[in-house]
């Protein structure tokens, strides 16, 4: 974008349409805010329940999983099932809210460039705004779910330490960066090949099960062995979910349940590094592909 300088005599000649990537998004905070507000306003337009859908959908999803997995498949700890997970409901829900955020963010970000094609074809603006706005909107939708989670935790006797709260923030940041990076990657690829959104849908289905959301990490470790378990553990979503368990679920139990070893000193930094790498890669691919968006859309 050419700089918004009022002094045209002194403004240099610049090449139009060459942006500064994600840094431009930061510079265009006002536009980002408006785009996010627009999305939030039109999301539930014309529906009777409106924003309530943000509660109803995860609520139903949670109930189904809880009954099927917790009760029928016996993951919940009870008198007859002492090996199960204590407070399975909280365990499950703390993972679900995070994966829901990731799913919504990535699937909307991957569609955001094609979806805003009309605008991108006509006016130059930093196109990174659209995937970033998608992730931001999902973060706003994440808030009511987080509130429900916190209320449930409080009822279950939640008493988190400061470190545990920091872990929750770190877990969220890891997943948000990953969603943004993959959103940039698949969003720009989607302009050229619409297969991209189907790949994303498949990836999201897989992602729900390749992290310890429904089950416990110890089950994975016992089946995979130490070295393959390390591969499982590198997944930033796995790290984010475990950080959420550590922050929300563990303090509602007697804290005797094992957490993945070295979660805070090793895996959380690994998650940040991996997510950051994906973000850099996504931005790089996006910059390579965005020059031809207008003619390919």
């Amino acid at each position: 974008m050419t700089t918004a300088s009022g002094f045209s005599e002194t403004a240099p000649l610049v090449r139009p349409g060459v942006g500064g990537g994600l840094a431009d998004v930061f510079r265009q905070r006002f536009l980002l805010k408006l785009l996010v507000r627009k999305e939030l306003q039109i999301r539930y337009k014309g529906s009777v329940l409106g924003l309530l859908w943000s509660y109803v959908k995860p609520g139903v999803q949670f109930l189904v999983f809880y009954i099927a997995l917790g009760v029928f498949l016996g993951l919940e700890k009870s008198a007859r099932n002492p090996d199960g997970l204590a407070n399975y409901a909280v365990y499950l829900f703390s993972g679900i809210v995070l994966i829901n955020f990731f799913t919504e963010a990535l699937s909307n970000a991957a569609r955001s460039i094609v979806g805003n094609g009309g605008l991108i074809k006509k006016i130059y603006l930093p196109r990174e705004l659209f995937p970033v706005a998608s992730v931001w909107v999902s973060a706003v939708h994440f808030i009511p779910q987080l509130i429900v989670l916190v209320v449930a935790c409080v009822f279950a006797g939640w008493h988190p330490s400061l470190l545990q709260l920091v872990a929750a923030v770190a877990g969220f940041v890891i997943v948000a960066m990953l969603a943004t990076g993959l959103g940039l990657l698949f969003g720009s690829a989607n302009v050229y090949f619409r297969d991209s959104e189907n790949i994303v849908d498949m990836l999201l289905m897989v992602a729900t099960w390749t992290s310890p959301i429904m089950y416990s990490w110890t089950m994975v470790q016992s089946k995979l062995g130490a070295s393959w378990y390390a591969v499982y553990q590198v997944n930033p979503i796995t790290i984010g979910v475990e950080a959420f368990h550590y922050a929300f679920w563990l303090p509602t139990t007697d804290e005797t349940a094992p957490m993945p070893p070295n979660l805070l000193p090793l895996w959380v930094p690994v998650g940040i590094v991996v997510s950051l790498a994906v973000l850099v890669l996504g931005q790089w691919v996006f910059r390579r592909l965005e020059g031809r968006f207008a003619q390919e859309l």
Partner: protein, 243 residues
């Protein structure tokens, strides 16, 4: 006077791809790249153009001559294959009014969204808001969702936002056909005001009468080449002789 827009040896080819799926692309690669997966089309060919600050220039040509493509390069929506495009100061494109409008938002919200898309800051929009509404003659309907607007109201509001963005370089693509006769006259007056204030104006239009009233200079394009560059009357005559 300094240069506002400088276009040097600009080339642009469009690849007309017939496929949109990965499968077809892979099949094509595997089968030894047989057949035409794509066709190339030269939209702009070695275009050189220099526009001084304060000039009013019309890009003329028949359909498919490349004038809108050239405008998209100046606005930054498209990047050249080779050659360069450089601009000075803020460029606002009016490449189809209302591109950033959303039907489910009210007129007020659309003014803010569209203003920001066109590069205005929050403070600028706040300051210009009343003037935008007044110019558009939308009046009390400003808080109504734009889906209930008539097409004339819609275009008037969009145009009004665009002319209040106050850029150094103003790109106009076929938007002067907005609204009724009185509103058109008002738009024209506003555009003339802008050019009198020293703004650079680049207009694409098929309405030759209209462009000869607004612009001093005409650039005629044919199949992606500049075939004439000079006074507007001669440019119009040149284009008419093409038909």
């Amino acid at each position: 006077m300094s240069v506002a827009i400088e276009v040097q040896k600009l080339n642009k080819q469009f690849v007309l791809r017939h496929t949109r799926s990965l499968k077809e692309a892979i099949v094509w690669l595997v089968t030894g790249r047989k057949g035409d997966i794509s066709k190339k089309f030269h939209a702009l060919h070695n275009v050189d153009l220099e526009i001084q600050q304060g000039e009013t220039v019309a890009l003329l040509g028949l359909n498919g001559s490349g004038k809108s493509t050239l405008l998209k390069h100046i606005s930054g929506v498209m990047l050249p294959d080779s050659g360069s495009v450089r601009t000075r100061g803020r460029v606002a494109g009016l490449i189809e009014v209302g591109a950033g409008f959303h039907h489910d938002l009210s007129g007020r919200e659309n003014v803010y969204l569209n203003g920001a898309i066109l590069g205005m800051t929050e403070a600028q929009i706040d300051e210009q808001f009343d003037s935008i509404v007044e110019f558009s003659e939308i009046g009390e309907f400003i808080d109504t969702e734009v889906r209930f607007y008539s097409s004339g109201m819609y275009l008037r509001l969009a145009f009004s936002v665009a002319v209040h963005t106050d850029p150094e370089v103003f790109l106009v693509d076929e938007i002067l056909a907005v609204g009724d006769e009185p509103f058109q006259r008002k738009c024209l007056a506003r555009i003339k005001e802008l050019s009198a204030a020293g703004k650079t104006l680049v207009v694409v239009s098929h309405d030759l009468e209209l462009v000869s009233r607004i612009c001093d200079r005409g650039v005629v394009l044919k199949h992606g080449n500049v075939v004439f560059d000079g006074a507007i009357d001669e440019a119009v005559a040149q284009l008419r002789s093409q038909v």
